[in-house]
């Protein structure tokens, strides 16, 4: 692979009809690049959960896929409310999603832990009132 592949998606807030499309593009792109199905599957989970966080919590935002020689980075950036207690948010089962969203099967409180489990590197920068930046890196074996 020569130049890194870079894709950027705008994710709209609370648009549940379009939700998941960016993640599907991410997976398709990685498959087209010929990456292994294990890598594609892990990246799909990361991209989906990151996208849903933008839809549900972040007030929308941007998701970037960057594919380099030895790694994939999925970066989600929003200008939402920020995460007040990150260690709580990382706990499986903890969610701040409202009831109507939970009734659709979202807000299981598993998003961030699903992302972390499928990442080789995982980082979140968050500031109250400013927004959140999530970076997930998956190594290409």
């Amino acid at each position: 692979m020569g130049e890194p592949v870079l894709l950027e998606f705008e994710v709209k807030p609370l648009d549940f009809l379009a939700a998941g499309e960016a993640a599907e593009h991410v997976k398709e792109t990685l498959k087209t690049l010929g990456l292994s199905s294990d890598i594609c599957r892990r990246a799909a989970v990361v991209a989906y959960e990151a996208e849903m966080n933008l839809v549900i919590h972040g007030g929308g935002g941007r998701m970037v896929l960057r594919v380099e020689e030895d790694r994939i980075a999925i970066i989600a950036v929003d200008k939402g409310p920020g995460i007040p207690d990150l260690s709580l948010a990382m706990q499986e089962g903890y969610s701040t999603a409202p009831d109507y969203i939970r009734e659709m099967g979202f807000g299981a409180g598993m998003g961030l832990s699903n992302i972390k489990r499928n990442s080789d590197e995982f980082e979140i920068d968050t500031e109250i009132g400013k927004g959140t930046k999530l970076v997930s890196v998956i190594y290409i074996k």
Partner: protein, 111 residues
């Protein structure tokens, strides 16, 4: 077991016919989308009562070829459209998830 065998053995209402010759690797049951993202295996049948369009996104990402709605749930028109676009088989059973899973288990789908 192929999807077509499930249709032959159970009383299902079919909404979208994908590749009925596709072999199922196992099953997953759940209504929390992130839970299914976590545990579903590729090639599974997914039993759920969620009937909205985001079910299709999860199915595509997890390579789930067959979504089976339990308890007589009617899919939203958007879900039907997306399943059609993506070639995902979509059907409804009048049974609740527990007896429905039991039937699938009896048919030999045990993973």
């Amino acid at each position: 077991m192929r999807i077509s065998e499930v249709f032959r053995s159970l009383d299902l209402e079919i909404h979208v016919e994908g590749d009925l010759g596709k072999a199922l690797s196992g099953g997953v049951v759940g209504d929390l989308l992130s839970f299914v993202m976590k545990v579903a295996g590729e090639g599974s049948v997914w039993i759920t009562v969620q009937n909205h369009v985001n079910v299709a996104a999860v199915a595509v990402l997890k390579e789930i070829p067959f979504v089976l709605l339990a308890s007589g749930r009617v899919p939203s028109p958007e879900l039907v459209d997306r399943c059609r676009q993506e070639g995902i088989t979509l059907a409804t059973s009048a049974l609740d998830a527990y007896p429905l899973c039991g039937k699938l288990y009896e048919l030999g789908l045990k993973d």
